[in-house]
Amino acid sequence: MPELPEWFRDVAEYMLRVGLPQTLKLAAFAVTASTVVGLVLGTLITIKFRPLQALIRAYIELWRGLPILVTVLFIYWSATANVGDVRLELSAFLSAAIGLSLWGSAQVAEATRGAVQSIPREQHEAAAALGFGWVGRHTFVIVPQAFRRLIPPMVGLLVNIIQNTTIAYVIGVSEFLETANRQFENLTLAGDGHPFAIFGFVLLVFFLISFPLTRLAAFLERRLVA
């Protein structure tokens, strides 16, 4: 194996030490928030109460329909506001995390709706016969069963969110791509930016994270069908 040049070791070390943890933190936040909010909204929309259904439907279609970048920019632009005497300020990190979560929770809600509705009627009746109310029935019987069907799309969502964390670069979060670009700009000023090596490395790291997860999602999907 050829010896890596000195400059590349420093650049890669900086990206992996500073950028990658931010990327993973952002992804963890967005995946957790998307799952929690999405499961709740996706379950509530199965209640046959028109105004509530319309409200959740609007939420899903709005955040799924907008490009994530537009959502993130809007949150970041409105991140500083004066409400009375209180000055509200959201960090770039939180703006990106919330933007990603709005999109992710809409995705999860839509998938959850389908999964919850696919649980046969008998399960509801059996749970009701055991004395569970609506909340208990869904918390302990219906949603846990629906969640099994949700696991493959949830792994897919994780991959999607990890890749979409790069959007946070636009508003200046020091995630993986931002640290790469910063190093590229520094090296360019010093003479040679090495764009192939630096952005190729970013591509490789994302691939090494995403590819096994994509395979896992496909495997889980097959096993569920079988």
Partner: protein, 230 residues
Amino acid sequence: MFHSHVDVLPDIDWAFIRENADLLWAGFKNTMKVATVGIAGSLLIGVVLGALRAHRIPVFTQLGWAYVEVIRNTPILVQIFLLHYAILPELGYQGDLFLTSCVAITVWGGAFNTENFRAGFEAVPRRFREAGFALGFTRLQTFLNVTLPIGGRIALPSSINTYISVLKNTSLLLVIGYPELTTVAYNIQAITFRTFEMFFVLAVVYLAIVWTLSALIRLLEARLALPERV
């Protein structure tokens, strides 16, 4: 009760939007230009590579697989950076933003569409193709007359989903400064801080197109559904 109004609308400064209408319209046209090239290009790549993959044509199948996996498992923003700063300058196209945009958007859409069409072609039952051969069709004729029309129909809804993503991805061209709609709105906001007006314009335009295409998918799924379960 019925006189209650949506609270946010009166806050919009319509005159401000009108003042910037020309700029925004130019941005919209650029968005549509790249999206059109991207959709046409990814349709072509999708049908050709999808067919090569579905028919397990050696070498092309493996190359197609590698292309699809690399694109699907890496962020499109990183792909845009790599094209803009490394690959296209190396080929002598430094700074051609329209070209960079079209290539990045098409390459991404092509990979996703390859999977859509591969799945569509593979869903065509074997006996349909055998019937084609029995009529004396060559492999190519069988593909063009049997597999393409039927498999293409099966792949249509998922491929429109990919075109929706292609359109939404054009907003990411902001990072290289290609003057599409999001870039234009971003630049106006940066100078004027008219956050709400700019978000309103972006939301209306993107949602109008995305929701129209989504409705088209639902319509097609109902109308184009094959009469017999294949």
